[in-house]
């Protein structure tokens, strides 16, 4: 009885609040990227450089070599911007996968009057209110890496093509193994957008190459868990020819080393230097295993920064770019191609994979990265 009453009161209050909110004029969400982001350029400082206060918001940094490199690339790109007339000051904030904390921090940054907010969000939805406020405050807001898919948010996304990562890997597996080959599919995390996108890519490639998935599992982007799952799959006595994995391929190789099981004919993909090194060493004597080393480049943050700087200069994004997203309606996304990748037969520069050994050693657990310079970004993306 009481609870019903409370529910009614609650519903009533919400409706009231909604009516109150509806009365306030809602800014129309522009679908045109150029219009979405064209704040007035700031005045030049004493040193002749235009000061730009950048706030980089990240969902998580700890325990994630991709995100660490992502932040470092933004720092490098920020420093490099001095050559192009910008004094970019960089502050970074991390939300530890806490959506509420992320909103709070973003709102703080809007209040603090940052000129440029670059967000690698916790979730691919849930920031519409924040984005709208940033726009009202005249702040340049770019969403990087984790594509923000909420329809009609009118935000510019800069990210890697996750679909392509899965797709390329599956195609390479098909090329190596041939049609009808049995593969294990280890995804990252159910219920996660990036993982889901890659899965769509994997599935498309698997279908084209007529591969057969004999076992499915998940590693939660957790290296140790990936090894444990692989050990358990080996325990289950599943027979397979290759492994498709949404990053962390090196963790799976560890499972083979631990058990002394013969390696499959193909594994992919992963992006770390350790994985490159592992592949080089395994294949040194003879060709043992084919692989896909593919960089989900953390440089998207740096690229996004340079794109943003052009926007600050009032330049207009080209409408005929080849990389517009076709996955979602109303989502403006510059999906950068996955330019860095190598397989046994085909690596960059046409060099043999063994020529990359020093490079791989230098990288270690870091990942290869690439960000578009100010000039490149300007030339490619703007009129």
């Amino acid at each position: 009885m009481n609870k019903k009453l409370i529910m009614l009161v609650l519903a009533f209050v919400l409706v009231l609040a909604a009516c109150g909110g509806a009365a306030t004029p809602a800014a129309p969400a522009p679908a045109d990227p150029g219009a979405a982001t064209a704040p007035p350029a700031p005045e030049a400082g004493d040193d002749g450089l235009r000061p730009v206060r950048l706030a980089s918001h990240n969902a998580v940094v700890e325990g994630n070599s991709f995100r660490i490199r992502y932040e470092l690339d933004i720092q490098e790109a920020a420093a490099a911007a001095a050559d192009h007339g910008f004094a970019v000051s960089y502050a970074s904030f991390v939300a530890n996968w806490d959506a509420a904390l992320e909103v709070q921090q973003l709102q703080n940054s809007i209040n603090e009057g940052y000129d440029f907010i670059l967000v690698n969000p916790v979730s691919v939805t849930g920031l519409d209110p924040v984005i709208e406020r940033a726009r009202e405050a005249g702040i340049l807001y770019i969403n990087a890496n984790n594509i923000y898919i909420s329809p009609g948010a009118g935000v510019l996304n800069v990210g890697s093509n996750q679909f392509e990562q899965g797709y390329l890997t599956a195609r390479e597996a098909g090329r190596v193994l041939g049609p009808g080959a049995r593969v294990i599919m280890m995804a990252a995390r159910e219920g996660n957008a990036a993982s889901e996108l890659r899965q769509r890519g994997f599935e498309a490639g698997i279908e084209e190459e007529q591969l057969v998935v004999v076992h499915e599992s998940f590693h939660d982007w957790n290296y140790t868990q990936a090894t444990e799952r692989m050990l358990e799959i080996l325990n289950a006595g599943v027979e397979f020819d290759g492994i498709l994995v949404s990053q962390n391929a090196n963790a799976l190789i560890d499972a083979f080393e631990i058990t002394g099981t013969p390696l499959p004919r193909f594994i992919g993909y992963h992006d770390g230097g350790n994985f490159m090194l592992q592949m080089i060493e395994l294949n040194r004597e003879e060709r043992v295993i084919d692989f896909m080393m593919l960089s989900n480049s953390p440089g998207v943050g740096g690229t996004a920064l340079n794109i943003g700087l052009h926007q600050m200069l009032g330049r207009e994004l080209r409408a005929d770019l080849p990389y517009w997203s076709d996955t979602w309606d109303d989502v403006i996304a510059l999906l950068l191609p996955n330019s860095i990748w190598m397989t046994y037969d085909d690596s960059w520069d046409g060099r043999s994979i063994f020529d990359w050994e020093d490079e791989a050693r230098r990288l270690g657990s870091d990942v290869p990265t690439h960000w578009w310079t100010f000039e490149d970004a300007g030339a490619h993306f703007f009129y």
């Binding site: 325990g63 070599s65 325990n235 870091d366």
Partner: protein
Amino acid sequence: MHNSAVLRPITNLFGKVSGFANRNPTRMAIILGLGLYAFTVFQVPGAFSVQAISTLFMMTLLLSFASAGQTMVLIGGGMDFTVGAVMSVAAMITTSIMRGEDGRFLQAFAVCMLLGAAVGFINGVCTTKVGLPALVVTLAIGNVVTRMSYLVTAGTPVGRVGPAFASSVIYRHFGFIPSLALYALILFPLVFYILYRSRFGRQLYLVGNNPEAARLCGINVNKIKTISYMISGMLSAFTGMLGVGMLQASRNQMFDAYAYQSLIAVVVGGTSFAGGVGTYGGTIAGSMVMVMLNNMLTALNLSQRVREITLGLVLVLILVMYNRRKGVRQ
């Protein structure tokens, strides 16, 4: 009570199983673990192989090492949530000191032990002297330890373990006995000695069972508890070293999941949250249950959502068989 004729045999059976579990937790855990494996093999015949058993053995050993300290702390009436954090940090220390060279093993070992003892000491002092619930305190301390590890490593821990050390963990003697078992030859007797053959172990049981009586007997309760946390820290650190010996390269927070895993393994092994009861043999069997459970869920090739729901329900079922608190009316 249900009087329905259909339910009675089920409740009776469950009552019997539960009674057996409480009387012989170790045997029950062994039966459970083997049962889970038998079920797995029944469903997926390929899961029965020398190679699989060898791997399962190895994983059980690793979890049982990680749970050794937790067993002691729980027997003493505490709880240690820093197990995972300490393991991860020890792993990073190991790789960054060894950098692929076996000669630096002793240095790494010394630093890891120091770290484990230090974290354990802080745990002990904060739970006994400050008197806050162990769950919350050790959790907070574990967080600080983890955060510090990021500061020190800048998020990318370096190095690798030495090759000899790595093979001392993963090499399989006669093709199926994991070399990790050699460490068990040192660790198990050590733990058994501490728990059952030393004055400390004896005191620990008394402290966990009735701290007030132990105090009036002249046992320094706080000291015993603090030492149990320190031993737990050191054992966790050593397990972290072995773990990274297996995986060879380290990462931040790589073994965090072991905090809960060890807790459940210990409870399934018959050690109670109330303190004063428990055996390490039970913990080893409990570790096997956890390893077999995970192995089964993977072998059954479930989607992640089904897997998680199943895991939760099976855990509830196992817990119902063990560790029921007493009701208000007795």
